[in-house]
């Protein structure tokens, strides 16, 4: 009986001992966040902010914009310090830009951003763009105000290729935003690929969000060929934005970006654009 008691007590004590062994999540300091892009035949834009730690609930997001940072971009030959300036067409309403470097497919672009003790950098090589073949707009049954649209293109010969479709409303936005379900991986050369054209989803759109295009809109639609890292980033972003609000699914995996020293994404992208009048 004593042996049995000993085993029993050992069993009873085990969870107390074992309970100490779990790994704790590390505390993460405030780190820099970059969201930047340079389009083929376009100019670079970088949005540079600081991350928010959970204890900062209630802090104005405006405090997280890094207005006095030094942001540089280089294409391997030239290095340019970008200019910071406010704009209501961006969110948060501040960005860094320059017209001294223009995007060329095949070139590699490196950005470096510094603000006080925050430092981040990223590098990205611009793929060749793929032309948009067509954008087809169809009426939706029993609906006079919405339209279903599909973007089509032919897969390039150098597959696999990765794409992110963006939409910009030039009247309201200074930047293009990723279209909902707009990330595509293409593996078969020559294959015709179709992508639904849906409004970018955003927390700020709240309940008024309508995915389909609205009659009367004039939109700039871009097919951005991106690197695999950038594709993965926007694809995970799509998942979080779309399904983060559901009680039934968990979409809390975070985003794997390509910024060293911080979060976010830097994309040098081959771009094909069209303007669409929704009728």
């Amino acid at each position: 009986m004593n042996a049995i008691k000993l085993i029993f007590i050992t069993l009873a004590l085990f969870p107390l001992i074992a309970g100490c062994a779990v790994e704790e999540s590390p505390e993460v300091p405030v780190v820099p966040v970059i969201e930047g892009w340079i389009d083929s035949d376009g100019y670079p834009v970088v949005m540079f902010t600081a991350s928010i730690i959970p204890d900062e609930a209630g802090v104005p997001l405006a405090d997280k914009m890094l207005r006095w940072a030094k942001v540089t971009i280089s294409d391997g030959e030239n290095t340019v310090v970008m200019t910071g300036g406010p704009s209501d067409k961006y969110f948060p309403p501040f960005r860094y830009y320059t017209f001294d470097i223009k995007g060329k497919p095949g070139a590699t672009y490196r950005i470096v951003a510094d603000y006080k003790d925050l430092h981040a950098e990223a590098i990205c090589t611009m793929p060749q763009p793929t032309e948009i073949k067509s954008i087809d707009i169809e009426p939706i049954e029993n609906n006079d105000t919405l339209r279903a649209a599909t973007l089509r293109f032919d897969a390039p010969t150098d597959c696999p290729a990765y794409y992110c479709v963006t939409i910009k409303n030039p009247e309201e936005q200074g930047r293009a935003l990723p279209a909902m379900f707009g990330t595509v991986e293409v593996t078969m050369p020559g294959q015709e690929v179709s992508v639904p054209l849906l409004h970018p989803a955003s927390d700020l759109n709240d309940k008024n969000f309508v995915p389909q295009l609205i009659v009367g809109e004039s939109l700039q639609v871009s097919l951005n060929r991106v690197t695999p890292e950038v594709y993965r980033f926007w694809r995970e972003y799509d998942n979080i934005v779309l399904f983060g609000g559901s009680l039934f699914v968990s979409a809390d995996n975070g985003l794997k970006g390509n910024i060293a020293g911080g979060y976010g994404v830097w994309s040098a992208q081959g771009v094909s654009s069209r303007t669409v009048e929704v009728k």
């Binding site: 029993f8 069993l11 009873a12 062994a21 179709s194 639904p196 700020l204 399904f243 968990s250 809390d252």
Partner: protein, 685 residues
């Protein structure tokens, strides 16, 4: 928490060391006094009895006198109050027993598994309690007859005979049910029950909050038919169907979600009580679920299902070796049809993306044999082995021998058991939900996703203090688990043409360990249970160097239930539950991308929600009237108040931007139940 846990251990150690003395091993509910050759017994009407080995037996009729959730008495809700048994908060309903996953708990009707027997929001289970004669709950220690599952077991036993017409009608504020038990001639009897809800009409506003709107309704139907062939043979047929429909609309998001799930069970059984007692059954049990994610003019349908058809039987042989040896054996052969989670879309674009649902049809066979041998007057040895074989999808074939050994020592006033056993499970359930909702899909074992295994060492001490009518059970366990699946995919992955669920399931291993104490007063005007436990579930997954807290980690649990009989017409009851908050994955940091707030998370389950506690109260008035043909007619009016002091138990925590996009704020989704009253009338006859 360390201090309180240490205190608990001191208490448990004290209890262990104290020379507690009872004077008999009979369960207190069956008062038994030996007077030489004469034994006088009387069976009480307590709602539950604590059995040796920590098992609980529930009297479904007596349960109707206790605390009811929204007017319904429910065995699963009572089981949830046991120490070491947790759910993933009020939104989660699945039983996690001693650190095991919900899908590792086996729930059965007439020994046939039911795959997801839960309603949404912890309201109650799909089991219409008054339909059944009794229910039994077993924690960890199982003999070789336990089917291929790693965790606890909850068995519902239908009525095997009906002597006179009887039944019950229950009218509540969210649901009404009726059960009818009828003898049909000399040999037949039937038991039929149905239940429908109308939650949205009365409770819709209460279930919803400022930021979300919930709609929910369900219905279920049970039917049993018994045919007594002769004194030794009986045939029975069982049918069960349950249907749930749930909608969730969050004002922060345009996305609306809907869930629909249903269970179906059909079985036929032959029961023989001759020299070799046996039971053979043929059965089908199925579960299907569909998740709809809707945006204006767009919808994603995510269906999944599992069905199982099989035959099984159990044998009990006559005692041998002078009555010291009893042998049992049995068999199972079942074929599955498993449709793994897939997606189809509507209004998504000119072309539909997604992949065709994958259907697997594996076969599982099992035989077991075991025996109980009385080594001495006080020491009993139970040994057995379960041999299972599995032919899965592709080339995955498996065979396992699961030996089980239990030594039980009769202390004279209780028993002490030690159990050692191996367990196998060929079914996995994984998915996107944090709280174990029906949208988590079943997937049968296959290449790259082998059968789960567990090695259990468990000790159990049961004590009966007959004079005081008190039963005590102390359980301690260590369970090593292997091949534990965890879903790592995202819902958007379903849109890939080459989507494969296996690619998104990672495998972990780990252990569960814990101790549970249950003290139950089972006789007298005041009956009740005090239960306390502490347990851990630790997991190791690829990509993490150390141990992680499992999402099933029970932490600390405490509950106190009391039921007091006042005069001949009133019962008042209370139920208090205190538990560590649910483990969750905390936010580490956030940032803005494309105008949206993105959250980066820490290690899985490395934080806990705030302490969970809740007090439920009930009062039941009853009036008994004799029936002309014998028996009584009982009228009951039950008033219950759920979460009587309005504790705001946090279920989920997210960070969102405010409506102006100027600040971010913490959004906490709280329990559905605060100050939730219910009134019900029950007629039992």
């Amino acid at each position: 928490m360390t201090i309180s846990v240490t205190g608990l251990y001191c208490f448990l150690a004290l209890l262990w060391l104290l020379p507690l003395r009872g004077s008999g091993a009979e369960p207190a509910d069956t008062l038994s006094y030996s007077l030489g050759e004469v034994s006088v017994s009387a069976t009480g009407k307590t709602a539950m009895r604590l059995l040796d080995g920590g098992d609980m037996r529930y009297n479904t009729t007596a349960l109707s006198m206790g605390v009811r959730n929204l007017g319904e008495s429910d065995v699963v809700n009572v089981v949830k109050r046991l120490s070491g048994v947790v759910t993933a908060g009020d939104y989660g309903t699945g039983l996690m027993v001693d650190g095991a996953e919900t899908s590792q708990t086996l729930c059965r009707i007439a020994k046939v598994p039911v795959f997801f027997p839960y309603r949404f929001g912890g309201i109650f289970s799909t089991f219409n309690t008054p339909h059944f004669a009794s229910a039994t709950f077993s924690r960890s220690i199982h003999d070789a007859s336990m089917p291929s599952r790693l965790g606890g077991r909850l068995d519902f036993q239908p009525y095997s005979e009906v002597e006179r017409p009887g039944g019950s009608v229950n009218v509540g504020l969210i649901a009404s049910s009726a059960t009818l038990r009828m003898p049909l001639g000399r040999r037949f009897s039937a038991i039929v029950s149905g239940r429908v809800s109308y939650i949205d009409r009365l409770y819709g506003q209460l279930l919803s909050s400022r930021h979300n709107e919930i709609s929910y309704n369900f219905a279920d139907l049970n039917a049993d038919l018994n045919y007594a062939v002769d004194d030794d043979n009986r045939l029975s047929a069982h049918f069960f169907y349950s249907n749930d429909r749930l909608g969730y609309d969050d004002s922060y998001y345009a996305l609306d979600s809907r869930l629909k799930w249903h269970n179906t069970l059909v079985s036929l059984a032959w029961h023989h009580t001759g020299r070799v007692a046996m039971e053979h059954r043929v059965y089908y049990s199925g579960f299907s679920n569909i998740l709809w994610l809707e945006l204006p003019q767009m919808r994603m349908d995510v269906p999944s299902s599992i069905g199982m058809a099989g035959v099984a039987g159990d044998f009990r042989f006559p005692a041998m070796a002078g009555g010291r040896l009893t042998l049992t054996s049995g068999y199972e052969l079942q074929a599955y049809r498993n449709k793994i989670q897939s997606v189809s879309t509507e209004g998504y674009g000119a072309d539909q993306r997604g992949h065709a649902p994958e259907v697997a049809t594996p076969v599982e066979g099992r035989v077991y044999a075991g025996g109980v041998y009385e080594l001495s007057e006080r020491l009993r040895l139970s040994a057995g082995v379960s041999l299972s074989g599995y032919a899965g999808p592709g080339d995955y074939n498996a065979f396992f021998a699961d030996p089980r050994l239990t030594a039980t020592y009769d202390t004279g006033h209780g028993s002490l058991s030690l159990h050692l056993g191996r367990y196998t499970q060929y079914l996995h359930q994984v998915g996107f939900s944090e709280t174990g909702l029906s949208s988590d899909f079943w997937i049968t074992a296959r290449e790259g996703l082998p059968a789960q295994a567990a090695y259990l060492l468990s000790g159990d001490y049961s004590l009966q203090l007959r004079d005081a009518g008190i039963a005590v059970n102390l359980e301690a366990y260590v369970k090593k688990v292997a091949h534990q699946p965890e879903y790592s995919g995202q819902i958007i992955d379903l849109l890939d043409a080459d989507y494969s669920a296996e690619k998104h399931i990672i495998e972990g291993h780990g252990y569960n360990a814990g101790v549970n104490l249950t003290v139950r007063k089972e006789s007298g005007r005041l009956t009740g249970t005090i239960a306390a436990g502490y347990g851990v579930a630790r997991r190791h997954y690829p990509g993490f160097s150390g141990w992680l807290c499992g999402r099933t980690d029970p932490g600390f649990t405490f509950s106190a239930d009391a039921d007091l009989r006042l005069g001949s017409h009133w019962n008042v009851g209370s139920s208090f539950r205190l538990a560590s908050g649910r483990p969750y994955t905390p936010a580490l940091t956030m940032y803005i991308i494309a105008g949206n707030l993105i959250t980066e998370y820490g290690y899985p389950n490395s934080a806990r929600m705030p302490l969970y506690h809740r007090l439920d109260l009930s009062a039941t008035w009853h009036l008994d009237r004799p029936r002309a043909n014998g028996g009584t007619v009982r009228h009951l009016v039950n008033i219950s108040l759920i979460n009587a002091y309005g504790r705001n138990n946090v279920e989920m925590r997210k960070y969102v931007l405010d409506s102006e996009g100027e600040r971010f704020e913490v959004k906490e989704v709280s329990s559905l139940y605060r100050f939730l009253p219910s009134l019900s009338y029950t007629l039992q006859f």
